[in-house]
């Protein structure tokens, strides 16, 4: 079985090189599948998507170069080693075992310390936050010796932003209008990704607009109004104030069904365009017209969160690749529609987009 797999891998790798064409193959680019260590596809799919987020990859490789051998092992050094290993391969295509990274991940967080299928979005969240924490800790640690690492970011009350924030962080503005005194109060919240509800036969554009729709806070959800000094009915809406460089959109396809006492998958067909602008920006948004390009999609295949499989499709140098653990295939852009989901409400088992990565064009 494993032998079969290796043969297939070999054939697949050379096939991919042939398909792209030796003269067409992008210089300094490597397409390496990642070996599955027992239900680690949630991890592999996210790592591939992040590797092809160019700003993220560059910062990770830069970090790796800066560190050399000074640092003690962390999830970030393991990620740096993995990315470096891919980026410095002699061959253009092949497979790599992200063994050290997985070991480190299992060691650091008990949630991932098993052979169960995990949620790719939870993992993405965990990874980005862990890296941000490590970078912040690094800054704190190095400051007394070397002065500010990044002079662009001075302290402004909250923890200094790191390059993870520079890449992924956007700001939501949460406007609440008290229905009694009509006072509008707004509060900003930062986000690294947006989780949006999905509906059947809609677009990601529609899901984002729904996300920002006005909702009324009433009965037990009443809002404490500072002007009225009491709980009041209010209207609330959340819109994007600062648009991130990379917009990560999480489609909430796993829904807890009380009748069933478990999560079920919403395989709804939610289309996502290759080009995107946001409709749900706030009036004071800095760059509301930002144009985004789709660069990667983490796809969930199967019928539930703890069953099934994750793969990712990424855009690299103008063409699309499908990473399925150790297998890499070139796909046509028109094949992306296979990952929108299903129009039949009866079927739960689907290969459908789960996390979308859009990169700003400017």
């Amino acid at each position: 079985m494993i032998a079969d797999f290796c043969v297939k891998m070999g054939a697949n790798a050379s096939q991919l090189e042939k398909e792209i064409g030796t003269d067409q193959f992008p210089i300094n680019e490597h397409y390496f599948g990642l070996v599955n260590f027992g239900n680690t596809c949630y991890c592999n799919s996210v790592l591939q998507a992040l590797y092809f987020c160019r700003p993220f990859r560059e910062r990770v490789l830069h970090y790796k170069q800066q560190q050399k051998n000074q640092k003690k092992e962390s999830l970030l050094t393991c990620l740096g080693d993995l990315f470096y290993s891919i980026a410095t391969q002699k061959k253009k295509v092949g497979t790599i075992a992200p063994k050290k990274f997985i070991q480190r991940l299992r060691k650091e967080n008990e949630v991932f310390d098993n052979y169960m299928q995990q949620d790719a979005h939870e993992f993405l969240n965990y990874l980005l936050n862990t890296i941000a924490d490590l970078l912040q800790a690094d800054k704190q640690g190095t400051k007394p010796k070397n002065g500010p690492v990044d002079p662009n970011h001075q302290c402004n009350g909250k923890p200094e932003p790191t390059w993870v924030h520079d890449i992924f962080q956007g700001t939501l503005t949460n406007e609440t209008r008290c229905l009694n005194c009509e006072t509008v109060s707004s509060k900003d919240e930062d986000f690294l990704d947006l989780s949006v509800d999905v509906e059947q036969n809609t677009s990601i554009t529609h899901c984002l607009r729904e996300f920002s729709n006005t909702e009324t806070l009433c009965s037990e959800h009443k809002y404490y109004c500072e002007v009225c000094c009491s709980k009041q009915e209010a209207q609330k809406r959340m819109r994007v104030k600062k648009l991130p460089q990379i917009l990560a959109l999480h489609l909430k396809r796993f829904k807890y069904m009380e009748q069933l006492n478990r999560y079920t998958k919403l395989s709804y067909r939610v289309v996502f365009p290759l080009e995107l602008r946001l409709f749900n920006t706030s009036d004071d948004a800095y760059n509301p017209d930002r144009m985004y390009d789709l660069i990667a999609v983490v796809v969930h295949c199967g019928s539930g969160p703890n069953r099934g499989h994750y793969i990712s499709i990424v855009k690299s140098h103008g063409f699309w690749l499908l990473f399925d653990d150790d297998i890499v295939d070139k796909i046509d852009a028109s094949a992306i529609e296979d990952f929108y989901g299903l129009t039949s409400d009866l079927q739960k088992n689907s290969e459908s987009g789960y996390i979308l990565f859009y990169q700003s064009r400017e």
Binding site: R177, H206, L266, F279, M291, L346
Partner: protein, 602 residues
């Protein structure tokens, strides 16, 4: 299983809807679909499209419909609303079932599937009709579904183009030539009697252009294709010839609408979607406007004369698959909607095909209005009769919704960017959007608007208007807030003549010129804020007059006919919606079905 009602059941599929002219009703017995509606193996995902033709045969019902579904292609006699009128006297369902199992022609394909088709209306007769069919693997077939002989295949060896055919049309004015657009981003002109050759064609540049080029086939003997057009980047999704047949509008995956002078092969206008690919395109009956729909969930109206986006429409929850103008529900300056006053020639064209409406009659008026120069504003007495001031169009989307839109004089007259600064809008937005009286269901966007929904508003005089008598007051219900300024002047006929300001036009040209000289990657970003792609708050944002879920599956096609509107969905069902007053109540107890419907039979 209990969970499965989640999400699906909230919106009921509608079987009728109301506009100001009355109630449109689904004709349940006029449904065309594959005879055995079995769950289709989802391998083939080609959109279901419809083509119509009127053959002057002896039967009295000369209308034929062609539609594709998966690997199959059907041609039926299309009885439209007459179908049910006749049947109420008998057992309607039985007759219908018999009808569906007896198509005029049915073809099942292997390995390659039909994607689009077009009847040749220039050569059609009771004895035969030429039907072009494009396929997923790039081939083109020419068949006669009546005679069923002499089928021809083009691009059989796939030497011309291997990619999917996305749009196919006979070229108006050239009865033997047709244009085939492919997913590869190329279009080819074929002549029906020419061979395709046994070798891959070699091309030479015939006409280079900005964002496009036209090539001819480099051979000793004339062969197909006659011309190759390369347009934009990525797939060409659809194209449409102007009613005057002179211009060609092409939309593609790169999000551009490009309008060419077809004969001179010159690019005469460009528009960019707000984002994403453009999927469909349609000309207004008078050729003055083009409406597109696309992956930004919007419909966008572009003025051919002013070369600018006039307005956008937001109503769909997903991508817009098809758009079509309704030539029968557009109002002229004199509001002489009743077309019976027009000449007979005109009526014949109406009957022939809903896509070729007004072709001849409006050619003159278009020329006078479209020709650049001083006579542009001089609307002569001949064309004034057809000087449309209000337009109706429909759109269908992947959200399974049908939307109807009214494009009124007030919208059309707005100069670009006028008083639509961001702050102006945002002030209104913040005061309106979080409004204690706002309906929770209102989107943020619709909060900008005065959202009177017409269907629930009883007509002012209590009468059902069988056709579109223009009621300006009601029309305002769908306009955006910026249009209020013009309310006071809309009755002023003199004002109307200044419809298209010269100033707006010259500004636009500068914008286009600039855009054409920059790299394509940056181009679409730089176009933002120009007349080719205004910012969201720079042009009016329309709300649909009607926005109804009318199918379980994605809608793929919409078209307007004299007595009905026709929609098709991915499942392969073609629905006929009778216009108000065009059909008796669909009940067997209906007193005099024939009498009430008698007037509609042509």
């Amino acid at each position: 299983m209990a969970a499965q009602s989640e999400g699906g059941g909230r919106d009921e599929v509608k079987t009728q809807f109301v506009t100001r002219e009355g109630t449109y009703k689904l004709m349940p017995l006029s449904e065309y679909s594959r005879p055995n509606r079995v769950a289709y193996n989802g391998q083939v995902n080609t959109p279901v499209k419809t083509s119509f033709i009127n053959l002057n045969d002896q039967s009295g019902i000369g209308d034929k419909i062609c539609f594709n579904h998966g690997r199959e292609l059907y041609v039926y006699t299309y009885k439209g609303i007459r179908k049910s009128i006749c049947n109420y006297d008998y057992q309607g369902t039985q007759d219908m079932a018999a009808d569906l199992t007896k198509p005029i022609d049915k073809r099942v394909y292997k390995g390659t599937f039909p994607t689009c088709h077009d009847f040749n209306m220039f050569t059609a007769s009771g004895e035969g009709v030429l039907l072009l069919v494009g396929f997923t693997m790039g081939q083109v077939q020419l068949i006669d579904p009546i005679r069923k002989d002499g089928a021809k295949l083009y691009n059989e060896e796939r030497l011309v183009d291997k990619s999917k055919v996305t749009c196919i049309k006979w070229i108006p004015g050239s009865p033997n030539q047709f244009l085939v657009a492919h997913q590869s981003g190329q279009m080819y002109v074929y002549k029906d009697e020419l061979p395709c050759g046994t070798t891959t064609p070699h091309y030479q540049v015939f006409k280079p252009g900005d964002g496009f080029s036209v090539h001819t086939c480099k051979t000793k003997s004339t062969r197909n294709p006659l011309y190759r057009w390369i347009v934009g980047e990525g797939a060409i999704n659809a194209f449409a010839f102007s009613p005057c047949a002179k211009y060609l509008a092409v939309v593609g995956q790169d999000g551009y609408l490009r309008v060419f002078n077809y004969d001179s092969m010159e690019l005469v206008g460009t528009m960019k979607s707000y984002f994403g690919g453009l999927l469909c395109v349609c000309w207004s009956p008078d050729g003055k406007y083009i409406v597109t729909g696309g992956e930004d969930d919007l419909v966008t109206v572009w003025s051919f004369i002013d070369h600018r986006v006039v307005c956008r429409g937001r109503g769909h929850k997903s991508w817009v698959n098809d758009v079509a103008f309704d030539p029968h529900t557009s109002s002229t300056e004199h509001d002489s909607f009743d077309f019976s006053g027009s000449d007979e020639d005109f009526m014949q064209h109406v009957a022939k095909s809903n896509h070729s409406i007004l072709r001849e009659t409006l050619r003159d008026s278009l020329r006078s209005s479209a020709s650049k120069g001083s006579n542009r504003n001089s609307t002569d007495s001949r064309s004034i009769q057809n000087n449309l001031i209000s337009y109706r169009f429909g759109s269908v989307g992947q959200d399974t919704y049908l939307c109807l839109w009214d494009l009124t004089e007030d919208i059309l007259r707005q100069p670009i960017g006028r008083n639509r600064s961001g702050t102006h809008m945002s002030q209104n937005a913040s005061s309106n959007a979080i409004n204690p009286h706002a309906n929770k269901a209102n989107s943020v966007g619709s909060a900008y608007l005065t959202t009177n929904s017409l269907p629930n508003t009883p007509l002012m005089d209590g009468n059902i208007h069988p056709s579109a008598t223009t009621n300006l007051t009601q029309k305002f219900a769908t306009l955006t807030l910026g249009d209020r300024k013009d309310k006071e002047t809309h009755h002023d006929k003199k004002e109307h003549k200044r419809n298209f300001s010269l100033a707006g036009r010259s500004v636009d040209k500068v914008g286009l010129l600039k855009a054409n000289h920059v790299r394509p990657v940056d181009e679409s970003v730089k176009l933002l804020g120009t007349p080719a792609c205004p910012r969201l708050d720079e042009v009016p944002l329309l709300e649909p007059l009607v926005c109804k879920k009318v199918a379980h599956e994605r809608l793929t096609s919409v078209g307007f006919r004299e007595e009905c509107l026709v929609t098709a969905c991915q499942e392969g069902c073609v629905y006929t919606w009778a216009r108000p007053g065009k059909v008796a109540m669909p009940q067997h107890t209906s007193a005099l079905p024939r009498a009430s419907a008698g007037g509609t039979v042509v």
